[in-house]
Symmetry: C2
Subunit: 412 residues, 2 copies
Amino acid sequence: MKLTPKGMRDIGPEDMFIREEAIGRIRQTFQSFGYRPLETPAMEYLETLRAKAGPEVDKQIFVIDGGEYGLRFDLTVPLARYASATDAPKPFKRYAIDVVWRKEEPQRGRFREFYQADVDIVGSLSMRCESELLTIASAICGAFGFPERRILLNNRKILDGIASKLGIGGDAKGEVFRVLDKLDKIGEAEVEKLLGEIVGNEKTGELLSIIRAKGDNRSRLALAAKYSEEGARELGEILALCDFVVEVDLFLVRGLGYYTGPVFEIKLSEGIGTVMAGGRYDGLLGIYGQDAPAVGISVGIERLVTLLAEQKKAILKKTDSRVFVACAKPEFYPYAAQVAAEFRKAGIACETDLNERSLRKQFEYANSLAIPFAAIVGEREKKDKSVTLRDMSGGKEEVLPIQDAISRLLGR
Amino acid sequence: MKLTPKGMRDIGPEDMFIREEAIGRIRQTFQSFGYRPLETPAMEYLETLRAKAGPEVDKQIFVIDGGEYGLRFDLTVPLARYASATDAPKPFKRYAIDVVWRKEEPQRGRFREFYQADVDIVGSLSMRCESELLTIASAICGAFGFPERRILLNNRKILDGIASKLGIGGDAKGEVFRVLDKLDKIGEAEVEKLLGEIVGNEKTGELLSIIRAKGDNRSRLALAAKYSEEGARELGEILALCDFVVEVDLFLVRGLGYYTGPVFEIKLSEGIGTVMAGGRYDGLLGIYGQDAPAVGISVGIERLVTLLAEQKKAILKKTDSRVFVACAKPEFYPYAAQVAAEFRKAGIACETDLNERSLRKQFEYANSLAIPFAAIVGEREKKDKSVTLRDMSGGKEEVLPIQDAISRLLGR
């Protein structure tokens, strides 16, 4: 029988524990800033998805039942659809941590079904929003124990200003941005070559001299202001509100066509690449209903999960069970079940023998899941309302009344 | 622009908080018994789904991209596919709380996309499994504050035994079971009529006289043993291990064709109907790979969420934010952001003004989300590293150093 569909996978218990820890940390950060949860259907009307998807994304949509619906390819379209119709207080600050689907060619570490974790703010034009989103990004890096990160910031208005000054408009502008966006993948030399093919060598030289200009944020913003005063001012406002390092990077585009203002990207190190990215998209909601300004950031959970696992920064476990209640003989199972119930009442996750196996087999099972303790019950234990608590790593055993065993397991 | 697909819906923040609480309680119960999480793709190969789906379910499958894949209609098929190939220690105890999709005609309270919460045990023939699953069901009723519940238990082996004694076999047997399964929907009189059409009035009379027999569990099991000694003995074993009321109900079928042993159903009250159900399906895994015995129970989250909301048994809230940090004037926003950061560091979810609004407008926003406190900052507060803490319900205000405000908010 066939296994999982192409580019998709099962996530077994051990990987789930890491994933849940990652998602838990991200959710907790989102909540601490007052973002509110929203869940939307997995599928949307195809026309809802297509209203935003560019031609690149369009062919990646999984189409359902002949074509009326498609699976969502991101969490921004459903948010825009919802927020353009909601009467929730503004700003509407929402988070969503959920699955999206894209029919891409599967690659190493790239799947057709994956999680995204998004926060978005609908209903505010203030740059306070951008600074809050970068603060959240910074907090998530901290929560994951990744202090080494680069937060890059640019503004579409500046890029637009440069393009317009250089006389790059229409289709050429879109193409130029798409090429710039590929910098990480293809490198600067290739970018230069491709730009030359689109706008000629002279304009390419001018463009690159601007966006590659050396210097600190201040000098880059001064340069940027020549092309878009508003764009540079907005970035200055954001920087003033961030008490951590943010780098103005005039090379940064962010692929999506719908961004209208500041865009940002967080990289963990040169090699690992982007783990979070976002920007302002003030025009998008209007497509779906009532227009409103909006800005958001998306956290790449899959990459963070992989990192957590590789760097062993998550708690690696096979089960929540802290103790296995073992039966010396099958007839003591009712007492074992009773002991397990007492443990659970005290908040201790535990399990008993469901297979009527020998004590040796029960220990083998407990060890296979790395359950740290066994509580063995037999005739004496049943009579005394006690258990023989066994440390599965050292093999040390001690007969204890149930309540004392609970205290021991709780580390009191 | 169109909204959500037919029979599907957005779940806004207020409803999400209730839902998360329900899911959290269920997950916590599953974990306390040592069940381990498994997540599988939303879609499966269509042939994987069809291997289990009866003709009723088949037409409810959402088909993807021309027919290679379909969206899962339950969590049992993916479990069976996974568990028939895994080398995880046995018993493999897994839980899954996830979305499933069925293209049914939408009705009140019935959706085409909904959650299920399942626990299953793969790899044990012992009736300890059934008793553990019923214990979990009972614990979940307790965790939701629903002490009034009926736990009904039957065994497919008994039903098979009765059918065989009465000479009801082949297609007629399946039809008879399907009619019995509709008891809750159509009532006893209609069941009797339909059965008569299938097997004649005489056999219908005999059949009903058996499964409707009055008496306690003991007398019902004694009667059942005449048709399947093994089936009755299994139920006896389960009952002996349950320290709560379980009713043997020979009328209980549970619709699914793949059940092979004990089946069970938990009802909250006559009116509300079934909130959990399950049974043993020892033959299913063999369809997908390596065979193994299996038994599971499914919790109807949607119904529990509705009940929690109706009975106001969940914490009803609009946001996690405990305090809104308000700016007397825009120039104090950097200090407001700093105060908010201190609050978050202390574990207090909070938010600030992202719209550069007047104090009155800020209060309106905080009130619209029922945020209980405001921490107002202005010139004096900034100078003193303090806040003016305002109780939003009574309007009482007090100037406090940040740390004292934190203590107050934490209820110390």
